[in-house]
Symmetry: C2
DNA sequence: CGGATTTTGTACAATTAGGTACAAGTGCTT
DNA sequence: AAGCACTTGTACCTAATTGTACAAAATCCG
């Protein structure tokens, strides 16, 4: 498998397949087909077969895919066959929600730190975490070797913080701030902005 | 402008343009070009010109686009030249964060209700909101004529709640639950799942 | 005022993504 | 053991998306 040659759009669908497979496994199912999986995720069976076949021949004619086997393959392809350390920057309501969220641990992620620049928040706790000062963020991230960050600071601060994260060695940013970030090509950004998502739907109302 | 003919992928970029234009307006800028806007949002100038030209000739050769004029046009196209009532279902941490979020009001949305099925939460308050019982949700949504919902319930409950929302007349769902929803074709869904978004990036690490 | 510069909107070309169809492998049933 | 139903992986085709290039319009500047 040549990672450079896989289109982003296919990579973007793999986590959706993986999520559905994990739900099937939780229900005790052992095998599935592109047809069945497609019905669960709202994607055509042919599309799913073609996406998966980019990485190898994981299915068996007549029976379909072993859920456990395909899950393992997808986890390996997406590199979530390990646990990634993640930091949260911004200890507002969204930072709190992410820190308390239980949905990371089964999907390959583990929060190892929360930072904020508000001196009144620094030293406070969220669950088991102590909020640390943004001033020591770069050195802490470097020391821990963290490659992934979730950014929940106000839009006005987001670009500055993103640059610090890049400087600290972060290579993937999940950006909750409502602004496009300018980062080097080797750093990936995913955007979560509820207003933007809502505006994508109002067009059709 | 024929809404049926506009590809989803273009509609998806319009809110990003709008967001950047609103920031420029806040800085006091009056005009911009496809070149400049493209640098802000990380999209090629030609792409932006082509996207915008789907809806009319809003620019002027030599000078570019009036920020105010283009903003108005995009708001109108996206139907956020009005305020949409929105409900939140699920009063967990994410429901709290959304209820307290100040970033909706300038972008066309107004939260008018929060629901939860936990009797211990019902009657409690989040900011100015009183948490209402999911049992009365359908009738309340119908009475208010709400068309948009944000879903922050656990995955196990999401499909059931989505069906109730559809029954109540909701036509757009912003789904924070980590599961694909099965809804009629005339109902739009946007997905926000931090683990899925993170997994889209780990592939490249 | 006139040439240089900027910028749009679009025609055309190239690339990318998705749909269709089917040979071939697998297992089930009788 | 033979036929049937199911399902994959892929070759081929079609549609959708993006990139390139440029004529035409508008402004700027000396």
């Amino acid at each position: 498998m040549n990672a450079d040659k896989i289109p982003d759009i296919i990579v973007g669908r793999l986590p959706v397949y993986l999520r559905a497979l994990q739900r099937m496994a939780d229900k005790g199912l052992k095998t599935t087909s592109s047809q069945e999986l497609g019905e669960h995720v709202g994607i055509s069976a042919a599309q799913i077969r073609k996406d998966i076949s980019q990485f190898g021949e994981f299915g068996k004619q007549g029976t379909g895919y072993s859920i456990e086997f395909l899950t393992d393959k997808l986890r390996s392809i997406l590199k979530v066959d390990r646990i990634w350390d993640v930091v949260v920057v911004g200890a507002g309501d969204m930072g709190h929600a992410l820190a308390n969220y239980q949905g990371f641990k089964d999907r390959g992620f583990h929060i190892v730190g929360i930072f904020d620049n508000n001196k009144e928040k620094v030293g406070g706790t969220i669950g088991n975490f102590t909020i640390e000062d943004t001033e020591i963020m770069v050195e802490r991230i470097k020391a821990m070797g963290v490659k992934i960050a979730m950014l929940t600071v106000p839009a006005a601060a987001a670009q500055d913080v993103a640059e610090k994260l890049v400087q600290a060695g972060v290579r993937a940013i999940l950006n909750y701030a409502p602004i496009t970030l300018n980062v080097p090509n080797n750093v990936k950004v995913q955007y979560i902005d509820p207003s933007t998502h809502l505006q994508r739907m109002t067009f059709y109302l």
